[in-house]
Symmetry: none
Subunit: 212 residues, 4 copies
DNA sequence: CATGAATGAGCTTTCATTCAT
DNA sequence: CATGAATGAAAGCTCATTCAT
């Protein structure tokens, strides 16, 4: 009497979600068909429904998995020594086609969240967690004098994350973008936003001194 | 034999595009059917095809119209006296449900651009034009000492527009967002990014003086 | 601006219902597919849905049409001079294959009524109407001394109709049935049930007299 | 190497058929799925196929079991002292919802017999046996002067069974049926059909005598 | 210009059945 | 004996598009 092995089951589920992710990135949520996903996952149409009750469930599951993965990457980067460099790195400006596909998927999720409450909830829970983490990092920075104390850490975290999202539109708006220059300006933008004015003044005085 | 009145024809086209825009905002590009659009525009399915050859053409036409309108608004605001206030105003953070629908539509367009070359081209042409305009404004600002001269105006314009796009994810990521505080920090972010360091130092010294 | 012609529309609807009736008689409600019905009605699958929203609606519509037709036949027969002969005629015992198909359809409807409320309602409304008519005829018979006055006309009508339904199982239970003999006995059964005892006695005394 | 215990095997078969009967009563032959039956019988889908080769076989087996059971009940009742009361009792007019489910199943079988030869054969064999039995009882009644000798016992048996079948449509045609009154009239109907005219005359003369 | 009847490919989903374990 | 993962054909239904009127 062999009972279902829940580990194997979960592994297969993840495999399917990954296959679905690739299809969705290629064709969008509605453009990708169940057939596409089955072909990509190498299973039959009928079998897919042992793992997911509806296509909706696949979309929701896939969004959750993708965002969880993104959050994990973000966490790792942000807990390192250089917050600003980590943020800019997260923007993945230069990844070519593969990166752009991933970005499309992100905007697909955002658009879907506008009319699919299940996806909206997933997206909001994800960003709440990421925002909280970032706010925490900012507060520590404020304690160490590296971040302007006059900024509300929670709001600043939300704004920084929106900048991060926005940065991913750069290559979509302009495929011939100078990614190095853009990354540099984004780094400058974040630096000027976060650095305490006193410190900034000191730096610029020093620069002036150097110049003169 | 009366020939088609081209003015009337164009007017109807615009009407249909507006109807399509409402449907797309509600249900997405694939979720909205030709039937939906016909119902919204009060015409028959057959008649729709006198104005647009395919659904694709409606999507493209609608994206073009929507972006043209956005550009127009943007131009008006940006040519006014206060650039930064205009940018923040453009972010439309507090518009409630209606605003969020419009934002979903924007991200729909962005996601679609990732896999539909026609839409990608429209989006890129639009942003090229807007970017050029904004870069021009920035250059004038640099000439008048209001904008940091060390910034490359073209790249800075692209970055600012990406911040603008990103800001529209704020209410999607968190519907309970404190819109005033967010708008305030975004304004601060742009200010600190653009203001020449020298001027900023002056301001902050002045502030310090006031404080002491 | 040609508007839909409701007459044509209704005619097509009836055509489809007739085609559906044939398919259902052949394969049952679930056994007959939308494709089958479309092929039988010579229309495309998509077009069927201009006339019926769901397969359920086709079943319901078809049941209603079929029962309405049956009621019409019944009414015509029953209002004639010989009620009992009409009832026996209605049993259609000798119609061969075609008849049996029609009977299967009837039992299909009855079985479906057991779990499909919409069909149950249609069936009940139909039989209510037929029962009322038959009860009326019985009451007139009672007034003229042809029907036993001690019978409750309403209950007797229901019982007679159930006998009519039951008679349609005869050829299903036994395909080699002696239809003439069965029809004869059914006629006798109904006669003995309805005829006033006094009249029956007179007849049988007369018969006895003849025999002796 | 233990061989299959044929007793246990048969017992399980019967269990499954009972479970199938409940499912079929609830949802019909095509509406009930193999999954439904497995869940109701608490076995796995694969295991079911150790007992039945196809769904068809389950339907046939279940029909056979159900009809065998019905025949058994019938036999017991009909061999008792009061034939007519037994027939009316068999009609089960007042059993509420449960009864109606059982009746639906009967009509399901009848409808299925119209297009499924296997089921048709089972039904016909069953009714042949029951008819033979009933004909026998009638012949005995004729010998004892309780049943009209002019009736052909075989045909009368078929007609009586069709009345029995038909009676089961009563509550389907009218859920608010007066079951007592209907049962009374059915009893009267059968009585008048079977009783020898001479005896009937005697009874009615007696009644007249009483009345006068 | 305007209609809506008509098409048919293709969608998501279901389900009887098989098979490795 | 018993499981449930796996199949794949086919179901009901949708929808962009065409066309006679």
């Amino acid at each position: 009497m062999r009972k279902t092995d829940p580990v194997k089951h979960e592994k297969k589920r993840q495999e399917i979600l990954e296959a679905a992710g690739r299809c969705f990135a290629r064709k969008g949520f509605q453009g990708a068909t169940i057939s596409d996903i089955c072909a990509e996952a190498n299973i039959s149409a009928g079998h897919l429904y042992h793992y997911f009750a509806t296509k909706e469930a696949i979309i929701a599951g896939m969004a959750a998995a993708r965002l969880a993965f993104a959050a994990e990457c973000f966490n790792r980067g942000v807990e390192g020594p250089d917050l600003i460099a980590a943020l800019v790195a997260e923007m993945e400006l230069g990844k070519g086609k593969a990166g752009r596909k991933g970005h499309s998927l992100l905007f697909e999720i955002i658009a879907e969240a506008g009319r699919n409450p299940a996806v909206a909830k997933i997206l909001q829970e994800h960003s709440k967690a990421v925002r909280a983490l970032l706010a925490d990092v900012l507060r520590k920075g404020q304690a160490r004098g590296l971040v302007d104390e006059s900024l509300d850490a929670d709001v600043a975290a939300a704004v920084l994350l929106s900048v991060l999202s926005g940065s991913k539109t750069l290559t979509i708006h302009d495929p011939k973008l100078d990614t190095k220059a853009s990354a540099g300006l984004l780094q400058l933008l974040i630096t000027r936003f976060l650095t305490p004015p006193a410190k900034l003044r000191a730096q610029s005085e020093q620069m002036n001194a150097t110049v003169n």
